[in-house]
């Protein structure tokens, strides 16, 4: 039996977190409960963030969007702001788990789990997402790319929680592409994924490119080289093959029960070819 705290506001949360030893924060529990069952983690007590209004929802702020850490994937998928301004994230969310998992799981949980296979991470990297970390006495921001320090590792301090993530979408991108390879067509952990944002001019020239790969390295992989290879070019097979070759060099995948490193490396490049099908919006 574990003690579980259910704070209804931030003040109650801070009080709960002052206990010794500090209870472990969680939200949907869709990652944490799996680890509790397997014995991989065994905190004395838990504190649930899902009932704290300050940590939920989506709002426009500073020209971008602020997304509360405790917002569920299902709620994000339904959110008109997310759908209109973050189609890349919405596409990734629609491949995450299954309806029940999306009803429970949260974006904050996905970020804090910091799995290389976390499906919200490649889009958030491509979008240059920024995390907001809070404790009773402090609030700080940092780029997501710095927050995630390794597989399952973050820069979160013991007294902190993730309060939200801030994304400032650049409306000039006109190709928003996300693709995930899983063993089955839904409810599948990512074997490799690609999030891509492109700005393609009316004459077909690629003016800007942001690329991020999931599940092919200890954390999300970005490759300036692959992005560079696209700039000033067109979405032709040769151009994409060239970028694909660079992507294969940039990734550092592992073998696991789902796929070999060699397969992951190969498809990391292949996934770029799908961009050929894209006509700018």
């Amino acid at each position: 039996m574990k003690e579980v705290f259910l704070p209804g506001n931030l003040e109650e949360l801070w009080r709960a977190l002052e206990r010794e030893p500090a209870p472990r924060p969680y939200c949907g529990g869709t990652d944490l409960l799996v680890h509790l069952r397997s014995g991989k983690t065994d905190p004395d007590a838990l504190v649930c963030l899902e009932r704290i209004p300050e940590l939920s929802g989506v709002r426009e702020e500073e020209g971008g969007l602020w997304i509360g850490a405790a917002t569920t994937h299902a709620r994000l998928l339904d959110d008109p702001l997310v759908r209109a301004r973050l189609p890349l994230l919405a596409r990734a969310l629609s491949t995450l788990g299954s309806p029940p998992v999306r009803n429970m799981g949260t974006i904050g949980g996905n970020i804090c789990t910091a799995s290389p296979a976390g499906d919200t991470l490649p889009p958030l990297y491509a979008l240059d997402g920024e995390v907001e970390l809070r404790s009773r006495d402090s609030s700080r921001r940092m780029p997501l790319r710095r927050f995630i320090t390794g597989p399952g590792e973050t820069a979160l301090r013991p007294d902190e929680i993730l309060a939200g993530v801030r994304v400032t979408p650049d409306g000039t991108y006109n190709v928003h592409h996300f693709e995930k390879i899983g063993i089955r067509r839904a409810m599948a952990c990512s074997i490799a994924s690609l999030a891509a944002l492109l700005r393609v001019s009316s004459s077909g020239e690629i003016e800007a490119a942001r690329l991020a790969w999931g599940s092919v390295g200890p954390t999300v992989v970005v490759s300036g080289e692959a992005e560079q290879a696209l700039l000033g070019k067109r979405l032709t097979r040769d151009v994409l093959e060239d970028a694909a070759e660079r992507a294969r060099k940039a990734v550092s995948p592992i073998d696991d029960v789902r796929a070999s490193a060699a397969y992951r490396r190969e498809v990391s490049g292949n996934l770029l070819l799908r961009l050929m099908e894209h006509r700018p919006l």
Binding site: R184, R185, E241, R258, A262, N270
Partner: protein, 771 residues
Amino acid sequence: MKPSVPEIGRSLRRADGPSKVTGREKYAADHYGEGLLWAGVRRAGVPHGRILSVDTAEAAALPGVVAVLTGGDVPGTNRQGIVHKDQPVLCREKVRHFGDAVALVIAGDRETLAKAISLVRVRMEPLPGVFGVDDALAPGAPLVHEEWSGGNVLLRATIRNGEAEKALEACPVIVEETFEVPPQAHAFLETENGVAWQEEDGTVVLVVSTQAPFRDKWEVSHALGLPWDGIRVVGPVLGGGFGGKDGATVQCLLALAALHAGGRRVKMWWDREENFLAGYKRHGARLHYRLGAREDGTLHALHCRLFYDTGAYAHLGGEVMALGMEHAGGPYRIPHTLIEGWCVYTNHPVAGAMRGFGVAQVSFAAERMMDLLAGKLGMDPLELRKRNALRQGDRNCAGVTLTASTGILECLERIGGHPLWTGRETWKGQAGPFKKRGVGLAAVWNAMGYGRGLPDSALAKIELTPEGRLRLYSGVSDMGQGNATAFVQIAGHILSQEDETIELIQPDTARTLPSGSSAAGRTTYTYGNALIPACEELRRRIVGRAALMLLVDTLDDLELLPGRVRHPASGREVPLSVLAATMTEHERICISQFLMPVVREVPGTGKEFRIGFPHLFFAHAAHLARIEVDELTGTIEVKDWLAATEAGRVLNPQGFEQQVQGAVAQGIGYGTLEEVKLREGRILTPDFAAYILPGSLDVPEIISLVEEVEEPTGPYGMKGVGEVGANGPLPAIANALADGCGISMTRAPLTAERVLEALRRKGTPGAGETS
């Protein structure tokens, strides 16, 4: 659907439908009891090892622990197994696979149980392991069972007809290939479980999720040395079985626990991880084929060498291989066959029965060979199959002359006339960028019944209760396949009673009669055939009694109706409640036995098979798969499915279609996703996060066409349909891959990674050239 008097050939509401959807139906897992104790097993944790000591002191000292038992505490032979008694209830000297049972713990609650299991100290000397067919057959290989005379070979057998080797040499066209299939998990929802207790008179009662309650009695009695008549097994409906609950899972362990529980109820319920670790699997196999034909496509000779990995214990390994060998040539005429089989022991999880019992494996090879041959001959694959399809009167690849209904040709013709086949070239031409489309066929068959050597018998029992209602005693488990519904349909039809009013008693060795296992596509055929005469006799008795009561002197003038018998001429009626009250128990209960017919002219080959060879009846099916392959990822999307199935006449169209659909879905899993991955005996796919089953998006709309060919010996002309559909998907998808992408896959499942690798080797543009 409203309550009605069932008709044969018309869909009937499932007898278990309302009780299951409302949660009233009690599975074994729903049985608890006051003062319940929990039992659990300490597993080996190594694939092969000699037990030096098992120290139970610490575990036994834990408060709340009732008993900790080891091999030395097992009375009786401590051996279980359906044909070969080679599997200890609790290992004494050595362990042979990761999930072998070393100690049994009984405790007051689940937390204490888990703790106590972890406190059992096992000292083990690791032994070199046997991890696959090659290891098992290598000279000087370590022995899995030192005492077994065959070394690591459980069964070596040969089916020989004609002169295959010579005939192959004379064939103008020969194709040759080696295939591999992995173990598959049954993945039923309700994991292995049961509750047991000992009554005051010493009787041990088990309520268990089982496909073979009557055989369980023998198993427990033999393994624990208990008197056979001192054991009662109750087998409620199962939350899935697929073969994985045919054979002892928790039975002997639970009965042993009951002997140490002082009359309290003891429950054992494997979690999913334990189900993967200790439960049975479909046999992994390697299949080497050489097939020769004449220039016109007439099959002439087949030589195959089949290797089945049965894991640590025999279970039904020999019988599974026997059935695979019997079907190795596919549903075709092949005059010369040499089919060699090796079933070997390894330090892998125990392989046993699973839907498509040995046949799902060879169907992959046989049907790929047909397409390879068609390619070499430049023939249409459907034409090649039709040309060689077995007809009644032909001899099959096992040398048995087919005297029963044989409808494979009709199934192939149905596929050939369907727009999914005739319109395939247009459809293939419409593939989008980076997509390739292919269409594949498979013709498959599956025997029904136990085969020669093991009487396939059922004893049906039907009662008119003193209150005037029907009570049907089913002796053969319903694991969801719907046989109990078929029994209600038959009884209601013959006795003119509405389905809802018929009470169904599930198997219970104290109340129902031995009717064999729920297996081999036999349940409705065998039990149904026993039930018909029992119901007809009861009908005569009811009408006869009504005649006495209504003073009518010929039975023809009476009509049996729901709840009553009527004399139409006079309008007089007698309610069954009144009528039944006048009858003695002897009059109200009818029992009848049926024994499945067997092959009369047994071929002079396959002599090594003690039981289970050959078979007389087969169900047939032709499948068509339309798939789309992504050239960038290797992913297969199954787009359309067509299954034409012949299993005699259809009793219940809805039940028939459900069997086809389920089998295809399970087969798509086997074909594209599912693989119990092993490294040195350890399961790398220990749960549903790693062992991937198909979901609703992986299974397309399935069109089921029914080809009815009456089987005169069947109840209302039917044969079993449960298994045949599972054999089609893997080969049909592999053939579609070859059609669409020109790649010939030899290893299942056909994962995206394997497909992409094959595409790359073939140099298909689109797939990256480097890696």
